[in-house]
Symmetry: C2
Subunit: 328 residues, 2 copies
Amino acid sequence: MSASATFDDVLAAARRLDGVAIRTPLLENARVNARLGGRLFIKAECLQRTGSFKLRGAYNFLASMSETDRKKGVVGWSSGNHAQGLAEAARLMGVKATIVMPKDAPALKIANTKASGAEVVLHDRVKESREEIGMGIAQKTGATVVPPYDHPWILTGQGTAGLELVEQAKVLGVMLDAVAAPCSGGGLSTGIALAVKGLSPSTSVHAGEPAGFDDLARSLASGTKQKNDKLSGSICDALLAPTPGDVTFPIAKQLLGPGLVVTDDEVLDAMETAFREFKLVVEPGGAVALAAALTGKLPVKDRAVAVVCSGGNVDHATFARALARRAA
Amino acid sequence: MSASATFDDVLAAARRLDGVAIRTPLLENARVNARLGGRLFIKAECLQRTGSFKLRGAYNFLASMSETDRKKGVVGWSSGNHAQGLAEAARLMGVKATIVMPKDAPALKIANTKASGAEVVLHDRVKESREEIGMGIAQKTGATVVPPYDHPWILTGQGTAGLELVEQAKVLGVMLDAVAAPCSGGGLSTGIALAVKGLSPSTSVHAGEPAGFDDLARSLASGTKQKNDKLSGSICDALLAPTPGDVTFPIAKQLLGPGLVVTDDEVLDAMETAFREFKLVVEPGGAVALAAALTGKLPVKDRAVAVVCSGGNVDHATFARALARRAA
């Protein structure tokens, strides 16, 4: 498959999402800037509908389908942000959605997905393959499978957040030296790269990953797709895709700078800073790019840098762990 | 003193604050709307510079002073959001600020105020009057006292948040039935009322207060200024002013609907909802209007209602108490 997404596709996605996706704010903090010796901006996608950027790609996908296909519905599998984004996008467009979720997914996530009007099919994580169940539903009903990241319609939808952040920085008179976004399969980071490079070619774009799940960073360094050794074991539950996508990796190779890798403790510290200084609730996976900037792995000194905080769907116990990193 | 502030003054304040105050987002949540049977919007002033709306009034005050007066500096007293807002406004305008703070104020708040470049004068809460110390500094240096709420320049600055929220609702095609904001001395609620009534006369505007500190609600009901019995004892540390202001009360009488009074437990529940559904960090005093909407004291059913979440400067322990109201 060729690198089939362009800057113009991101612009088209932005027109589809106009009035649907929230134009999330670009925030900065004088104290954090003083500490880092530069200007750090947060694109607060945790404030997006459904609590993450995932609505952008899902809605762009549904809006790009033919009317005939939309009538047959959509199907997806996810235990997290993609499920909620897809279910809400389907509700907004009046499309029937079926989401395959593991039986042992948090009750709140299942309830949230149902609350958007989606049909939820529960599966046994150990005995059954959710892909097979989802594909079976698609074959039987004619529904279209909406993948979480590896599709041009998905990644160009996510990229609209990148258009916004460059425009919002420009209003402030700021030319960004670097932009970074969290990365699992690469939909967000490659979409953002298309958008940012289209508007501001000299800005470097980076993907952030949790330590031990840095398949993209290693793939970029080696030039070929690498796999993670593990499928679980990071606090960043949204960023555990095993390897870069077939659609996303060619774009990543062309447009992304070196990857940024952060530890779980650095992520918890970044969540605490987001709480204390920016008044934002950021989930672990949503905070990896911020963590890279705060630790100096993505240098901010004498520069202007924007990081995407991509989601805020964190449970109470995990957020309490982040709060405990620093007493007030 | 006459009710000396007008809608036009709010418009003038908005011009001064353009590019300085963050145009904070107006957020809604499909699940919360479904539960309440209407549309509830949050104006997220917790995302404002310094973590509260206070920057708006302080900056408008400084920008309205004569150049001669600005050169002599400003002085204020506060242990909370006004101190941080005033210090940051002074930094942005290059004005010398002196803030009188209690010796036993949280170290973080003192550090934050100093970080904006303000001179902090510590006083003994029991033995010394901060007003006397502040007035003494003003007399000695010629500095201008910047009051926390009871001045036309302050309340019209705060009112710019009301202009924004009506405009932001209009973009969504929404005419608001009601708007509510937290209230201590009434600067925010009366400024918002001037703005909202100027743009949308049929929208009712309400002030929210903590139980036991509902001086404005009782003053509005009786028609004359009432006092609170206590000076402390609510989790809403930002909302403990003992009585409505001389400038704010005449405007409140003219423009505000009945007051809204909520308990500390209702406030903690609202903070938890802001965390879980809106991904916002809201401090107790900042959540009273939201609490009124979530409990039905401010009806949302079959209506469109906007509440201001006015600040996010909450310590870790208090936020953990809010999280503990509901396990994930």
